[in-house]
Assembly symmetry: C2
DNA sequence: AATATACTTGTAAAAAATACACTATTTAAT
DNA sequence: ATTAAATAGTGTATTTTTTACAAGTATATT
């Protein structure tokens, strides 16, 4: 199919999750050019020759969201020769979790992209390349991580209620959890700091606010220790 | 450090584990050329332009061990620009578990390699590139897998005793396990088939032989279901 | 004051993990 | 034939973890 002399191109694609409007969403960009012109895709780009892969993924993330210092983990490297219709492109995929609040989506005008937007992960448009598979696999990985490591806090604001925390778990795992058991388990982990504040009662009974203690995330297959 | 026009090279390296002489070992090759001439390294090679990454890893594995149909899982992609002293080489690392018995190590004469040998994983020689890190990370991953998935059977012969199975766990986890609890847990999993045979008493009391029921391994982050 | 809504809390049962010591079968030596 | 040495095999009690499950509390609205 390809001449053996042709070289590989190496990219990184970043699946960026957030919670917004009570839904779990991923960031997608609309492609300006062929292949897959007009189709939605995960943000990505070429890895520069003197840049680590992590740095490339961070750069992509920052270009689109202007966010730094977030949880970013290498997911898997996808390299089927047929994944790109006209070239051999190996992509090292990452996933990230961010709070969507204080984020302004952006893209350079002269770019490969005509739009940037959050899409509900359980209701995605048709995607370019193998990006559907990459997102599904990301979701699987995030769920695995959640079992061992409270990475969901990356999706929450600094101060949050236990109900919000539980909701983020439910969105990711896509199932209901028992409220009392959830709270019991989390409080036992002693990674939560109970604050002296409550929600300013948007309505109804105010809820206690919590924040996370500093925890150490090891981003290369992040397990955590408090 | 590199001109941005220079292209990446993409390789795959495979950490191959086995149990031999009562020790957990990895397969290393001695490099014939610079860089790291004469140093031991994990077997690896370039990914061909129309080959999947999995296929490339299998090819490397087969070249050195002539083994096929074994557990092979993508580990991580290492891409520090400084990991190779003179080029930008991104490597997609895999690990594999094989039985060393019926294996004849081999390498082509006109090759990059002057020797192929098993080395105890807890007593490694100095290694080329970042291969020490890659092996350490493999070991971490194998241990993680072992918690959920009895991949250790890949290291055992067709028929084995429970003591041999336990020993393989102890070698990988590098700690002693309780004999009764180990047996209880494994028998409860009902993935073992008790055979009507016993060891032909090399000495002492003969031990019951078992084999594994067919289990499905999902090699892309293999979990298993019996 | 009554009502609606979301917040908070505890206990009992089941399941899983752990700790722990003796008997059984064989070979080799006397 | 008896004994010693080596490895195989087995069960129970305790602790820990997970699960299931329902009623009272604080605030805002009417």
């Amino acid at each position: 199919m390809f001449k053996e002399t042709k070289t590989h191109e190496v990219t990184t694609d970043v699946v960026i999750f957030t919670i917004k409007d009570g839904k779990l969403k991923v960031l997608l960009v609309k492609r300006a050019h062929e292949p897959f012109k007009g189709k939605w895709a995960i943000p990505g780009g070429f890895i520069r020759i003197s840049e680590t892969i992590d740095a490339a993924a961070l750069r992509i993330l920052k270009e689109k969201t202007n966010v730094q210092n977030i949880y970013l983990e290498q997911l898997y490297t996808f390299g089927d020769p047929l994944r790109h219709p006209t070239a051999r492109v190996i992509t090292c995929a990452y996933f990230a979790l961010i709070r969507s609040d204080d984020i302004v989506l952006s893209f350079e005008d002269n770019s490969e992209i005509t739009e940037v937007q959050w899409h509900p992960v359980y209701d995605l448009p048709p995607l370019a390349f193998d990006h559907k598979e990459i997102i599904e696999y990301s979701l699987k990985r995030v769920r695995e991580r959640l079992e061992f490591c409270p990475i969901a806090f990356q999706l929450l604001p600094e101060k949050f209620t236990l109900t919000e925390l539980q909701k983020s778990y439910e969105l990711i795992l896509d199932k209901k959890l028992d409220k009392r058991n959830f709270r019991k388990k989390f409080l036992a982990l002693s990674i939560l700091k109970e604050l002296d504040e409550c929600t300013k009662s948007g309505s109804k009974r105010p809820a206690r606010l919590y924040s996370f203690n500093e925890i150490t995330l090891n981003s290369k297959r992040g397990h955590f220790f408090s």
